[in-house]
Each structure stands twice: as C-alpha cells, then as structure tokens.
Subunit: 316 residues, 2 copies
Amino acid sequence: MTRATSPKSRSTMDNFDFKAYLKARQTLVNERLGAILGSLDPRRELTCAMGHSLMAGGKRLRPILCLAACEACSAPLEPALPAACALEMIHTYSLVHDDLPAMDNDDLRRGIPTCHRAFGESTAILAGDGLLTHAFQILSRPENLFKVFPDPGVRLELVAIISDAAGINGMVEGQMLDMLLQNADETVTSLELLTQIHTLKTGGMIRASVVAGAVSAGADNAMIESLAVYAEKIGLAFQIVDDILDVEGDPTVMGKTAGSDVDNRKMTFPSFMGLEASRKYAQEIINEAVKALDLFDEKKTLPLKAIAAYILQRKR
Amino acid sequence: MTRATSPKSRSTMDNFDFKAYLKARQTLVNERLGAILGSLDPRRELTCAMGHSLMAGGKRLRPILCLAACEACSAPLEPALPAACALEMIHTYSLVHDDLPAMDNDDLRRGIPTCHRAFGESTAILAGDGLLTHAFQILSRPENLFKVFPDPGVRLELVAIISDAAGINGMVEGQMLDMLLQNADETVTSLELLTQIHTLKTGGMIRASVVAGAVSAGADNAMIESLAVYAEKIGLAFQIVDDILDVEGDPTVMGKTAGSDVDNRKMTFPSFMGLEASRKYAQEIINEAVKALDLFDEKKTLPLKAIAAYILQRKR
C-alpha cells in the first residue's frame, strides 16, 4: 500500500489499495491493447514488432492517468478507454524511435531488446510509424474494438489534444532539442532550457493523458483546467525522478541500460542541481499537484493522488 | 495542353487548359503548406527539416486529386484544403522515412539532397514523425489556419480515412512488405503480391486523397464509391508508370537516383511483364478510371480526367 503525501487525506488514503488498483487498471489496458493487436494478422512482421514493444510490460502510466482523470470527474471509465490505448501506442512509438541507433542508440528497453535490436532498424522505424498512425485510427474509429466511446465531436477534440502534445510543438520537438543538445559539444547551463525540454518531451503527453480522460468524461472547463495543473506538476516530477533513477539505477531494476543518459552527456536534473535538491524539488511539485485536486470529490481523486505519490517513490 | 484518352470527351478536353489548372492548384497548395510552416518558429531545426522536404517542389498530386474530387462533386474546393495539405504532409513524411539509410538509402529526392543527407538521420526521423503527427493536428484543428473547413463529424471521418490509408493496413504495411522483399534473397514471381504491395504503399493514399475530397464536399455514397473506383485505377497506373520511369529515367529528369529500385533488386512491373506490356496495362487501367466518372457532370470531371491522362504521360 502506498501512502499519500498530504497529511489531511492520509486516513482516506490508508483505505485505498493502490497496488490492487494499479494492477486492475494495467490488466484492463493490456486487455484492450491486446485486442487492438489481436485484430491484426499475427503472422505479419509489423504486428510482431509492434506487439514486441507495446506488450513489453510497461507501467501504463499514461493510460492509467487518462482513466483516473475520467473517474475523478465522476464518470465511468469506459469512454476513456480508446484514448487510453491511443496514448500508450503513441508513447510506445516514441520509445521505439528514440531508441534507434541514430537517436539514443539503446539496446534494452523495459528489460528486453529494443525494437530495432529484435527486428532490425527498418522494421522498428515502420513499427513506430504504424503505432503512431494507428492511434489516430483508434481515436477516430473506436467502434470496431470498443463498446463505449465518446461522441464524434469529443473524439475529434481528443485527436486535436493528442496530436498537439505528441507533435512538433510537443514531444517531437522535445526529442529534437534533446538530440541537438547531445550532439552539441557544449554543456547546457540553463535550468529553464532543461525544464522546457522535459515539458515538451514528457510533460506534454502526461498532460494530454489527464486532459483526454477529462474530455472523454465530458468534464467542464474548470475541471479540465484543474486536472491540467495536476498533470503539469506530476509530469515535471516524473522527469526529475526519471533523471534520479538514471543516475542511481542498475540495469536489472531499471529495465534499460543504466547510466545511458550520463554516457551521452545528456543534461539531467541531478547533474544540474544535485541528487538531494532534485529529490526535494520533486516532492514540492508533487505536493502542489495534489493541491490542484481540491475542487473534486475527494474519494474520486484517490487514484490520482496515489499516482502522484507513486511517481515520487517509484524505483523504475 | 494535355489531351484526354477517351474520344467522346476530346472536344471538351481540348478547351481545358490542364497546364494552367495544375499550376494554379500547385500554387494554392504551396501557399497553404507555406502558411502551415509559416506558423512555426523558422529558427527551429525541425521547421527547417520539414520545410526542406515539404517545399522541395513535389507534384502535389495527392492534394490536387483531393481538390479535384471535391470540385467533381460540384462543391467549391475550399473545404477540401485542410485535407489536401494533410495528405501532402503525410506523403512527404513517408518519402522522408523511406529514403533513410535503414530503408531505401536514397541521397536525392525531388532533385535535392534527401532530408537525412541535408539534416542528419535523427532529424530526418523526427521531421517525418512531425509531419505525420501535424497532419492530424491540421485535420482536427483547421480553424487556426483555414477560413473554410468541414464540420467536426466530417473532419473526424477524414482522420479515420487518412489514418487507415497511411497506417498499418495501408502505406506502412506496403513499405514493410517492400523492405522484406528487398532484404530477402529470393525473387518474387507473383504479380498478385506485386500489385498488393503497390496498392498498400501508393494506391491506398491516392484513393484516400480522392475520397477525402469527396467527403470534404459532403458527397453522397454513390459519388464517393465511383470516385473510389477512379482512384484505385489511377493509383495502380501511377505505380506502373513510376516503375517504367525508374527503368527509363535519368537522374536529371527524375530528381532521384535513377535505377535505384533496380540496384536494390526491387520488383517492378517492367521487370515482371516487360516495358511494352507495362505501358499497355497502364493505358487500359486509365481508360477504366475515366469510365468510372460517367455519373458526374462532365464539365466538373475535366480535371480528374486530365490528371488520369497526365499520370500516363508524365516524365517524372
């Protein structure tokens, strides 16, 4: 059981079994992602390569955030499932492309060989392209695989939110800036630039996950805006903890080659402000995230609060 | 001036200035694509790389088909402009990724260095990812850059049609099969497989371009289905002519390294059935495409008929 960081909600949180919640949601998301893959010819190289990376046991943080945000708005979680799956597919595509030899050149991801190590570089590029494109197919035509889904207008809004966060003003630009920094022969000395890259690369998609859940639930603007603040805070904390884990982690726990960011002289929060200050900074931001949930029914926000605490405490 | 292949419409076609039409449509599409790029920070590496490939003087066949299909349905072309631009962005992304060293490893495209030769491999991968993702942003949020655009329900349908044609059951799978053939050490002897790959890789997006134009115009199902038949026919003819040009072409006319498909032992129509039979086959298919337009107002289909004739006669 994971405890919340805010004393006022501790007693409620003690009755919330986060481990069981996480497991149930992961099972649900894996089942739906499995159904998406199951609708494709299993003998196709592309199906195998996409499945290799998509079903490699990821945390499913983004889809779970999407579902939890939908529930925080006092809606059933079913209408958020198409967006939840699309978000995980886009997250996985970004990992597959980021791992490529021309990018971060990683051999291991989620404890198994990266897509290009297992299937070759051209297949990995295409598997990434396929996951990205098919995510928009799932968002626009959920009726083939989902029983419950939002109205067309809401689905179009989901396409807009997610393509914005994933694209050239979001995740793609974040990776671009990251690559330029890695390739440049100078050290970056600005925490502002570092935070900008993290926001673009990771924060934007975490924000989109939470907002997509709220939009799928038919939430009003005040709810969407509060959840967006929560998401921006946990997104930044997530990246700081990622950086801390990359310094501390060992490959058996982390599931990817430890210290790989350091080897490539990638800027990280610990290298900028030190390990202890990074930990403290992450804690402060998580406290602010939890505060942004004040306007919601407290019981409905238990999963989001537990996720915030989990982000701080996670070991991989 | 280009003459139609069908005798019955020759007198009408003689009064249609296809060259001027093509130029006007190319100018319109380039202007809108330029506005999309112009909305991005010009100093960003990603903007430069996307612009390098997007504004390299492509034929704009897919957007022009989209606009011409919209006009064939007796609608003004403006509502089809967002889809037209999205289709060209997705076409360009596919060229950028197909040219990569791990794929076709091409140095020249549209007469200039390929994206990865000009900007490096990681930037080219990201520029492709960016063009693909931003196409869905344009489709879902056209109001930022277009004055006229279809209703939300129609826009969602466009996302569905285009993501289907571009994705794992369309273009991405076509390139995957193509790569598997190139990497295999055996010659393919089936015209059926060859046609399947071409349909997936090129035909599907040409079909989507035409159908997207009709859907943007608010066309009825009979119109959409007739235009889909037209599109399937010209799509196949397009690929056959591409193959013929690759055998005959020289690099100054073709704009890419000539004979590159042959070097890589890629299967082509000429290598399968010979040059003359390939030419005859393309002509037959174009005649069938023109016949599929019978139910439309003849005057409104002049551009589509001229495009069909152009596909047969083009030199690059």
